[in-house]
């Protein structure tokens, strides 16, 4: 499914990712944890194709070389990024945005476009699961949304777009315990044998709700330790300090 080897990323002469290797198979959920500044968000940005990084190495999704593709081509290939800070797009209705995105991806997959009526039914089903008020659809994308509403909106998009690979960048940040549970349930319901997930997080709390198959520790731009979900618990107890120390 996803294969990353020797990935490096440089911004303004500073090396943020430094030879990162990672393999994720279909059906697996991996978590990447690490201290602030370890390169977690850079990893999600680089995988999704954001401008502004000098990137070397190799990344393939289902054998397709991702690094040569534009962001929208990566999305069409099945990559989805749930943003840490989803941006506002004033004046663009959430429903219109979601349907346009879904149809862009469907066109790419050779599927017929979805009508407004079909879309509404589909969106409402998914929103009910995320305990979202249908009024969200008529608001502008993320405009005036609370932190929790934005995160739920990200998960809603993921559930509509049904990606092959979902990258969740600090999806738990800024959520209270109830919102965290709802978001985590949403993520858990999307776990599937056809799908891989990469959960990037600072805190182990999310991983109590969405149990990962593998946990990796990212320090200084590379993966310095891997293990099963118990690694998350270990980190909670001892913090990252012993790891960052050993990496040098």
């Amino acid at each position: 499914m996803l294969s990353i080897s020797e990935l490096t990323a440089v911004v303004d002469g500073k090396r943020i990712l430094d030879g990162l290797d990672l393999e994720i198979a279909a059906g697996e959920v991996h978590a990447i944890m690490g201290p602030n500044g370890a390169g977690k968000s850079t990893l999600s940005n680089v995988l999704a194709g954001r401008d502004g990084y000098e990137v070397t190495g190799r990344v393939t999704l289902d054998g397709v070389d991702l690094l040569g593709l534009e962001p929208e081509q990566r999305a069409a290939a099945g990559l989805f990024l749930a943003f840490q800070y989803p941006t506002e797009i004033p004046g663009v209705g959430n429903m219109y945005f979601l349907r346009t995105a879904l149809n862009a991806v469907r066109r790419e997959r050779g599927e017929p476009e979805i009508s407004a009526v079909e879309f509404l039914t589909l969106a409402k089903e998914n929103m009910a699961r995320l305990e979202m008020d249908p009024a969200f659809l008529s608001r502008s994308v993320n405009e005036g949304f609370s932190g929790g509403e934005r995160k739920r909106n990200e998960i809603l998009q993921m559930s509509l777009l049904q990606p092959r690979l979902a990258i969740l960048d600090e999806i738990d940040s800024g959520l209270d315990i109830d919102a965290l549970r709802i978001v985590a349930n949403g993520v858990e319901s999307l776990r599937s044998p056809d799908r891989a997930m990469l959960i990037i997080t600072h805190y182990p709390r999310l991983l109590e709700y969405v149990r990962p198959d593998h946990v990796h520790v990212l320090t200084d731009g590379r993966i310095t330790r891997s293990g099963d979900h118990t690694l998350a618990l270990e980190l909670e107890e001892h913090g990252y300090a012993p790891l960052t120390g050993s990496a040098r």
Binding site: E72, A75, G91, T100
Partner: protein, 478 residues
Amino acid sequence: MTDVIDGLVEREYAFGFESDIETERAPKGLNEDVIRLISAKKDEPEWLLEWRLAAYRHFITMVEPDWAKVQHPPIDYQDMYYWAAPKPKGPAPKSLDEVDPEIRATFDKLGISLAEQERLTGVAVDAIIDSVSVATTFKAKLAEVGVIFCSFSEAVREHPDLVRKYLGTVVPPRDNFFAALNSAVFTDGSFCFIPAGVTCPMELSTYFRINAKETGQFERTLIIAEEGASVSYLEGCTAPMRDENQLHAAVVELIALDDSSIKYSTVQNWYPGDAEGRGGIYNFVTKRARAGARAKVSWTQVETGSAITWKYPSVILQGDDSVGEFYSVAVTTNLQQADTGTKMIHIGRNTSSTIVSKGISAGRAQNTYRGQVKMLRSAQGARNHTRCDSLLIGSDCGAHTFPYVEVKNDTASVEHEASTSKISEDQLFYCRQRGLNEEDATSMIVNGFCREVFDELPMEYAVEAQALMRLTLEGAVG
């Protein structure tokens, strides 16, 4: 992002074609003889000729205004034609079927075939090619309720008293340089009259077209809504590609008597010039309305074309409790320059006005909002709210805001908000991550920025405006 900017600079004008209609012209230049010729060609009454000549005599004492934030080489007013008419290839057409096929084909290319308009949309179209109205539809249907919708020339012939009563009452011939020029040489335009208490049963629409080379266009439009009447008027324009700069100085006067309502919507997409700023229309327009007691006048404009736009649709809020609105989207790319805005003159008590201006600037274009809000001593309890938002695409363009506020009544309130922003990398990346290409993403973000204004357009125009915006930005990402 860089691609978007490059693309915008390379944007080509999608409506650039020129139809081959034989044109009859007056000699180049402007003098009393030319004005007499225009008037004679149109079989005008003596009073109108005198009105034109008075305007001309004043015009020659005036100097072109230079306060707008636009730059262009001097305009030689003697090096232009002031009269051109499509030559009839036979007797004048009695119905659409008899209209010159060339002219029909031009409309077809623009996607505004009159037949289609008539058959499908129920919108009456008073089509103008150059200076003579070619066909007017739906007249019979409108006549049933007493609505008059015809070319200005026809109104002069058929309804001279109405024309004489209202012409120049909102924009006097001496109002400004371009209005004086228009008053002297205007050739045609539209006339609408909605009798008291009548709600016009359909949207009235005019498509203007500039067609003959080097023919300045001087349209004159007069809309009168009597007491309690209501009308929605649409004006849309596209023009063929050409190299010579063309002057366009229209005058639009709206008279909204007590308790009436006039909604005037414009989509303006004249040839903006090429990427180096060659060619393109100079659009110097005077549009003004007078609102009686409890009357409401709403201007909505979507300006994407022209090399230079100089345009300030205004409302004189004369009657108590009258309402004025101005909703504007102005897009400039390449070397286009727009200096546009509005004037809200509050005279009556409890008058209120709303101004929403969205300026979008790309390439090396300059986009200026210039607006005046005036609360006279009599404007007890008057209110204004103004919002000006500017969106910059790229780093070589400019956005400017010049609000002029004058308050002489201390119970009046004036609010002004302004913002300037860029399309953010965050927004673009977010959309692209969801599968939209750069072009679709840009278009979606810009349309979102303009949404408040588009929402004010009649339904079919809102769709057209979004398509136009898309087209404007499509060339953009090339």
